[in-house]
């Protein structure tokens, strides 16, 4: 298990027959849906559902970073919260590798097992200011999770906390301070340390740097990469900043209106985006070159309502290449011909006929 950033290498080497190598997969999501009911009127009748996450299938391998990108409201955060089980999905399967038993469906665990899994999957939030309790010192904030998960005696726990603060480059005696005594970047590092202190294997990072200024962003991102190597962590990295995602991720899933429209290694995605939405997103990333000739694709209209998404391909009302089939039939995520690990949900892309999930069967 020393494969750290090996996602990309592994993909190119692995033979198509065994791909993906399921022994590496730590989290496997199938057909995950999260619908929020919409109530109307005096009697609170359910008149519809906000389809925040609609039939998403993804997997995350040990030691890799899976980037989740998409514009606001596309369901990235909801998906992230479902993974940490802060939200319970409406339907779908979520299997996680833990204990001796191999992959287990963590949505149907009993209370005791569910509690144990909480130790393995942690989350880092976007806003460093609201993610620490203003009335608790760092020590108090860290000690309780360690205590409820029975990780050592009082002295040992204190040792772990000191260690964790040093891991994120903070002085260990900062543990007696209150959150308001720290800057945004420091708080975010504290949040990372807090997520790490109970030794998780998967961390959902919900836009961990978008509230920080740019110089601090690099510092936090590099720290996260270092920690990933040291502890063989897997990240689900949610962001809307495409350059940040490219820097962090081994593979990237592009989301649009609750669905994954493209899934590829980050090199492949940035070099040859296949989905018109991804193309448009990438064309909006500023490049440092002065006279680079780039065509900016500006999307027409707004994101449609997730309560009543468009028929067929959800992107079709805004797509410049829209055909008749796009209005009628919803495209499946399929592998792009001639690539190793590039999936796209678009009728117009040159894809193989087998849907993605069929390939993922064990």
């Amino acid at each position: 298990m020393l494969e750290l950033h090996g996602g990309l290498d592994d993909m190119t080497k692995a033979s198509p027959a065994v791909q993906p190598n399921m022994n590496d997969v730590i989290l496997d999501i199938r057909h995950l849906k999260k619908y929020y009911p919409v109530y109307k009127g005096v009697f609170k009748k359910v008149t519809g559902h906000v389809k925040a996450v609609d039939d998403v299938s993804l997997y995350v391998r040990r030691g890799e970073t899976l980037g989740l990108v998409g514009e606001s409201g596309c369901g990235k955060t909801t998906l992230g919260k479902c993974i940490v089980r802060l939200q319970s999905p409406t339907s779908g399967e979520m299997r996680f590798r833990y204990g001796e038993g191999g992959m287990r469906d963590i949505l149907s665990l009993n209370a005791k097992e569910g509690f144990d899994v909480r130790k393995k999957i942690q989350i880092v939030f976007q806003d460093p200011y609201s993610s620490l309790n203003p009335v608790k010192t760092i020590y108090e904030a860290f000690d309780e999770p360690l205590r409820v998960h029975r990780m050592g005696s009082r002295a040992q726990r204190k040792e772990i906390i000191a260690q964790m603060l040093e891991v994120v480059n903070l002085r260990s005696d900062y543990m007696y301070r209150y959150p308001h005594e720290f800057s945004g970047g420091q708080r975010q590092r504290i949040s990372i340390a807090r997520a790490l202190c109970i030794k998780p294997e998967l961390i959902v990072c919900d836009e961990p740097v978008s509230a920080l200024d740019v110089s601090i962003q690099a510092q936090v991102l590099n720290l996260m990469k270092d920690l990933q190597q040291q502890m063989n962590l897997s990240y689900v990295f949610i962001a809307h900043d495409l350059s940040v995602v490219e820097y962090m991720s081994d593979r990237i899933a592009v989301m649009y209106l609750g669905q994954v429209v493209e899934l590829a290694t980050s090199t492949s995605l940035y070099r040859t985006p296949r989905h018109p939405y991804t193309e448009a997103l990438l064309s909006a990333v500023p490049t440092p070159e002065l006279d680079a000739v780039r065509e900016r694709i500006v999307l027409k209209g707004d994101v449609p309502s997730p309560i009543n998404p468009p028929s067929g391909c959800r992107f079709h009302p805004r797509c410049s290449k829209c055909q008749e089939i796009c209005r009628v039939e919803m495209p499946q995520l399929r592998k792009v011909s001639g690539t190793e690990d590039h999936y796209v949900a678009c009728h117009l892309a040159d894809t193989e006929s087998v849907p993605q999930e069929a390939r993922m069967e064990l």
């Binding site: 919260k81 940490v84 089980r85 802060l86 569910g114 509690f115 909480r118 130790k119 999957i121 942690q122 989350i123 939030f125 976007q126 806003d127 609201s130 993610s131 620490l132 309790n133 203003p134 009335v135 608790k136 010192t137 020590y139 108090e140 904030a141 309780e144 999770p145 409820v148 998960h149 204190k158 007696y176 209150y178 949040s191 807090r194 997520a195 109970i198």
Partner: protein
């Protein structure tokens, strides 16, 4: 004990902040002085507040009776000092009782929401549609006069304010990321409610308690003045003023009603100053 040291350091810092607030310190000194006097009453006056001395009725202030005597010959200073005990006790206990009830119901209501929240919200609205004094009058008639009854009545008529405050805070705080982080750790709901969210609501509750203490002292005086408060045998500030119902007492014997009136005003003023200062100091956004 690491946590203890830490807690006291937060308290210490708040105390330092409070000390720099002049008005709050003036209020604190007034309140502290009056409470001290009330506690040390036996040392400050040789007379019992209930000793009747018909030989010296309605005497103006003199060396032996610094604030004079009332129509039954009781020493007004003694009555004032001993009365302070009862008045302050009623004010504080009433405010605390209401705050405790309101906080507990507010926690549960705000954290879990659902039908309990809906029912309690309506109940609190019913309580709030009555003017509190009328509600108290009805309850006094129902439960009867008495010290404990009055405290109980103040508690159950005063909870809606704190309830709504705590409930509102819980509604916004339960969505905070640190609460979600606690859930992600698998920390229990009760611990999240009472150990993580509740401390964040303490500062407005403390401010409410101080300010409503003043309100209840006034209410007690008012009720006692009307003869509906504490039984007239027990000296309270309101009961002392009660004697000033007659117009000739007001014009001829000011020593009977002026000292308790001043004591009430001063104490309420001090408590309000202190409460306002506390509000500034405990504002979590600083």
């Amino acid at each position: 004990m690491v946590t203890k040291a830490v807690k006291s350091s937060l308290a210490l810092r708040n105390w330092e902040k409070l000390r720099r607030n002049k008005l709050a310190m003036i209020g604190f000194c007034i309140v502290a002085f009056m409470i001290l006097c009330a506690v040390c009453a036996p040392l400050l006056t040789p007379y019992s507040p209930t000793d009747i001395d018909l030989g010296s009725r309605i005497k103006p202030p003199s060396l032996s009776h610094p604030l004079g005597t009332d129509k039954l010959g009781r020493d007004v200073l003694s009555r004032l000092l001993y009365g302070a005990r009862v008045s302050i006790l009623i004010g504080l206990s009433g405010a605390l009782g209401g705050a405790v009830i309101g906080t507990i119901i507010g926690c549960i209501s705000g954290y879990f929401g659902g039908w309990f929240d809906k029912v309690m919200l309506r109940v609190s609205e019913i309580f709030m549609t009555f003017p509190q004094i009328i509600l108290v009058l009805i309850l006094v008639v129902y439960f009867g006069q008495g010290l404990m009854n009055l405290i109980f009545i103040f508690s159950i008529s005063g909870w809606p304010g704190t309830y709504r405050l705590v409930r509102g805070k819980f509604f916004s705080l339960r969505e905070e990321n640190y609460v979600e982080a606690c859930r992600a750790y698998g920390i229990g709901e009760l611990s999240i409610m009472f150990r993580h969210i509740l401390p964040n609501t303490f500062s407005p509750v403390i401010v409410t308690v101080t300010l409503s203490t003043a309100g209840y002292i006034l209410a007690e005086s008012g009720l006692s003045f009307l003869g509906l408060g504490v039984p007239s045998g027990i000296p309270t500030w309101g009961n002392i003023i009660n004697s000033a119902k007659a117009i000739d007492v007001i014009s001829n014997n000011p020593w009977l009603w002026l000292p308790p009136g001043l004591a009430i005003s001063l104490f309420v003023l001090g408590v309000n100053f202190f409460g306002d200062g506390l509000r500034d100091v405990l504002d979590p956004n600083q």
